[in-house]
């Protein structure tokens, strides 16, 4: 089996759906164990598949072809409407005095200085910018030496992955108390505080995580700290943390840049 056959025959999708016959499944597995390209694509499609399953409730139902065909008329309607509006506008323009032509055409009013006023740009509100998705977490099961803190952490994160942020807080607090220098613990404790609207506690946890300088938690904490500041309406501090996130250039940099851009508008 080669990459071309995999693509042409839709082997990858059939594999993920468990629809390959045993012999073909083994053959494909042998291929992707050696092929970086197919292995990488397979991992992406598996993750996409898992997320799609999670997104199921918000996806629109499948459209039928008949419904779709009605949309074929939309461009025609749009063109017809445009022609009518243009005709009306042209007639109105013919009847207007010359000195009003420019303003009528642009749809703006002249100012005393002769400049035109642009309509104010409307961006997202502070509340919208403060909204945040919880940092992802996948439960780790390692058969290493487990201590109390690790045990409490893993138990708490079972709640976390199911959206029980408030329920996760006591366990995470215990984990942090038992192992105060583990950045992972304080990071997810901060995330739980953030998701439950306890912004001052979130800020303290993220600051602590940043001070521990353990990656990737330290870098990511700047972004979530900014979100906590936004929730508490401290825009100046939020901007500072967002700028820090951008400067550090991690995976959150683009998102931080976008929020910063919106805030600067």
């Amino acid at each position: 089996m080669n990459c071309r056959e995999v693509e042409e025959q839709g082997v990858l999708e059939c594999y993920l759906l468990g629809r390959l016959p045993d012999s073909q499944r083994d053959e494909f597995e042998r291929h992707y164990f050696e092929c970086d390209s197919c292995s990488s694509l397979l991992q992406v499609e598996l993750t996409v598949q898992e997320h799609l399953k999670l997104l199921q409730p918000i996806l629109p139902p499948a459209k039928k072809a008949s419904i779709r065909r009605t949309w074929y008329w939309m461009p025609a309607f749009a063109v017809l409407t445009l022609v009518l509006v243009a005709g009306i506008w042209w007639r109105a323009r013919q009847q207007q005095p010359v000195h009003q032509e420019a303003s009528a055409t642009l749809g703006t009013q002249p100012t005393s200085s002769g400049e035109t006023q642009q309509p104010p740009l409307v961006g997202p509100s502070l509340e919208e910018l403060a909204r945040v998705q919880p940092p992802p977490y996948s439960v780790t099961v390692l058969r290493g030496a487990e201590d109390v803190a690790e045990f409490k952490f893993e138990n708490a994160m079972q709640h976390y992955v199911n959206g029980g942020y408030a329920s996760a807080i006591p366990g995470l607090r215990t984990a942090v108390k038992n192992s105060p220098r583990t950045a992972r613990f304080s990071f997810y404790l901060g995330a739980c505080y953030l998701m439950t609207g306890q912004t001052s506690s979130a800020i303290a946890s993220f600051r602590k995580t940043i001070s521990q300088k353990e990656q990737p938690y330290s870098n990511q904490s700047h972004y979530y700290l900014a979100k906590a500041y936004l929730q508490s309406k401290d825009v100046a501090s939020a901007k500072k943390e967002l700028q820090m996130t951008v400067d550090l250039g991690g995976g959150m940099a683009d998102e931080a840049g976008e929020v910063l851009h919106q805030l600067n508008r």
Binding site: V48, A65, P136, P216
Partner: protein
């Protein structure tokens, strides 16, 4: 952090592991963890079981390599796959009955943990990329990857041609892949630099 292994280095791995080179074991773990995990998820439909299987397979493979049981180094990938297949089949047959295993050493456990972190980051990026796709593109991915419909069936359902469905599906996956490749490499490179500076 995943290590890109060149064919030459890959060929040397079994011998290095036989000679007790711990870094070679770490490279092996990085290279195969996600492959085994995907295989485990697909075959068992259980992420937790797949995680356990990753460890079982890696322990078994490393144990064999330490004993020099792989004679042809070119067949390392096939050897790992064969071990994974056997252990998965055993697990499916015996269900809850599991073999007695030694815990992973701290270094290898750390390697797995770093894979977990990368997986978490990858998940976040996929979600971000998915949010950037249009409804119809997401729907095509949904019908393909979840409902298991072919391009022709999707095409008739959405009033598109099969070719358009194929193209849009490929383009959507490419968008997600590109975002992950770009951002993940930047994130990991950044982590690496910070670690070095510390």
């Amino acid at each position: 952090m995943p290590v890109a292994i060149t064919p030459g280095q890959f060929r040397d791995l079994p011998e290095r592991i036989r000679q007790g080179d711990a870094s070679a074991e770490t490279e092996l773990v990085h290279h195969f963890t996600r492959r085994i995990f995907v295989m485990g998820v697909v075959r068992t439909h259980d992420r937790e079981a797949a995680r356990d299987l990753v460890q079982d397979v890696l322990i078994a493979v490393i144990g064999s390599l330490r004993k020099g049981q792989l004679l042809d180094p070119d067949k390392l990938a096939a050897f790992v796959h064969g071990t994974a297949r056997n252990l998965i089949n055993n697990r499916l047959r015996t269900e809850r009955q599991q073999p007695q295993l030694e815990p992973l050493s701290e270094n290898l456990a750390q390697a797995c943990l770093s894979e977990e972190l990368e997986y978490a980051e990858r998940t976040r990026l996929v979600l971000q990329a998915m949010n950037r796709l249009g409804d119809e593109d997401r729907q095509i991915l949904w019908m393909t990857l979840v409902e298991g419909r072919g391009p022709a069936e999707i095409a008739s359902s959405l009033g598109l041609s099969s070719e358009v469905v194929r193209t849009r599906k490929g383009r959507a996956i490419r968008k997600v892949t590109d975002l992950i490749r770009n951002k993940l490499s930047r994130t990991l490179a950044n982590c690496h630099i910070v670690k070095r500076e510390l």
